[in-house]
Symmetry: none
Subunit: 194 residues, 4 copies
């Protein structure tokens, strides 16, 4: 069953190699080699090299995280922490993808758009988690701002993790707690008049 089709193997090889060395620096011949297929087959399935990149973006896994799996109502800090743990896991599980998206975003609009989409998804996800954990007692603007801030910080953290030797994202608990406290203090302040 792990006997992937040749086409699939080509795509995986391309993903790895584009992530390792970049699109331009990767010859199609090396893709064929790593996929263990004859050179001609790469161009048989993907006439031009850029078609490979497009196909790679198309098959982007849509691994949504379900807010419910990390949210504990009333425990904002914990919920955010669990969210980030989960995000980190996804990130580590598809490093090639992440490398690829960041690397080629500048020159391939297809990729750029995919990257932007993912960021928007992330913002919405953080938003949901905050709302789910803190209840509806927060000002909409505050939630928006916190979500934006956190999504950016998490994205940046992953983006720079790519650059480190072991691809492991940096410590982040302090920042998370700080943010959770900031929001929580708003809740209290927003509700004494109740």
């Amino acid at each position: 069953m792990t006997e992937d089709s040749a086409k699939e193997r080509i795509l995986s090889a391309a993903e790895e190699l584009f992530a390792e060395s970049g699109f331009e620096a990767t010859p199609t011949s090396r893709i064929a080699e790593r996929a263990g297929v004859p050179k001609g087959l790469v161009h048989y399935y993907f006439r031009r090299k850029s078609d490979l990149l497009a196909a790679l973006v198309d098959r982007l896994p849509d691994e949504q995280i379900e807010p419910a799996t990390v949210v504990v109502p009333g425990d904002l800090a914990g919920s955010l922490r669990r969210l980030v743990v989960e995000l980190d896991r996804r990130f580590t599980g598809s490093l090639g993808l992440s490398h690829l998206l960041w690397r080629e975003a500048d020159t391939h609009h297809v990729v750029r758009e995919a990257l932007a989409d993912r960021f928007q998804q992330l913002v919405r996800l953080v938003h949901s988690v905050i709302v789910g954990a803190a209840g509806g007692r927060l000002a909409v603007a505050d939630v928006d701002n916190a979500s934006g801030l956190l999504a950016r910080a998490v994205s940046h953290r992953h983006a720079t993790a790519r650059h480190s030797r072991d691809d492991r994202p940096a410590e982040f608990d302090g920042e998370l707690t700080f943010l959770a406290n900031a929001l929580s203090s708003k809740v209290r302040k927003a509700a004494p008049a109740d």
Copy 2:
């Protein structure tokens, strides 16, 4: 005045082109062309193409921002806002540089390190501004966390600004205010005896 030396023109051309299309996708011949010099001269000054990249990183402007120029003690939100305005200006003024650093960080460790350096500088800068504006009445950990969060968010904002049509960084005031408030509320809470 714009009569730069040939060597300088080559570097500028390389910076632009590497930023536009990436290192690999930029032929040295196009660099020579844009710099208006014969092809041989490029390799006379920079034996291999990668030497160009190294030179580009070496001459990285060290445009430090002086905290004092944006800090107004007591006005944290305003100070941060002025800081970001200034950072955005620097960013817009050297777009090529920023593109270059992010694009090539994955494959050229010189570049990667330069990018990491710049990030650390940014963290320290934000730190100084917060301390300068809020006085010494904040917990060290809070300042650290807020600085990290903000530096990451600002970096990410610039990194993704590269991907937009007009290179303009996204709106950010809301996030800034939120963060300033978060910190300010700590000050008050930390000094209830006042």
Copy 3:
């Protein structure tokens, strides 16, 4: 019949050109030109230029001479003369090869070894012919010395023939006869009891 495969034509062209102008002085483009193939094909078959040289040495014809074809027992001088005539014919028939070997021996160890091999073959061949023509009545040491001397002289004669306008080896009969006589006198002296 002369419709050789492209690969074969490339090798022949390379052999000729390397012999004419030397390895370094021969552009691969000129090889392609003379072989009547597109430039890319040369590097398709032989990734690097030096692979061409290696291939050339590999396909070195192993044109052994069968001692029996020149030996007439009892006629040492005649046998040696027939041997040299035959060696000269081989030499003239593959001039390119000979040029090539001597020219590039200094810088390419593959070639150097091939040249050394050929010399050893030659020594053994001369040895066989002497023994075959003179019978077993000669001292081993004498045969060894004479073989070495003659093999060296013949090699040198071919090596310098390359340098002459018409590639024709110099007259050599006198030397041959002298050597045959030298050996023959030993036979008589070794068997005075006859």
Copy 4:
């Protein structure tokens, strides 16, 4: 006094490098480097690269060997042995020269002629030594043949010594003795009537 002029240092560097890597494979810049002179100076003294080769051949040391220094009348084998020892010493003392001459003889007629000259000198030298050691009792033809044979063998021996790791010429005493005996036997046979 070892403070050679720049021009002299350039020539020596060229001789070494041409011998090591060949004429074509040696950039003039490397000659300048090894000579410790600025690049421009090489072409200041020798406008074209080939002028260097010509100059090198022009200044060829004419290290003639005086027959009297090795000849002991009556001792032919010893005389030849001493001659070869002396020739080997000259050879080892100017290896660069020898490499150079053999390497570039194929493509530069100036060099080719110099090499041929040296060979003729050698033939005459051997001739003188034989005559000196054996007296006038040998047939002219025999002396000619033996000289040619020996000169060729010695030349070949040096030519192939270049190809060995340590540039040391191979053992040769057996061959020499054999040749001396061959000649000596003629003397005896030629003079029984005395």
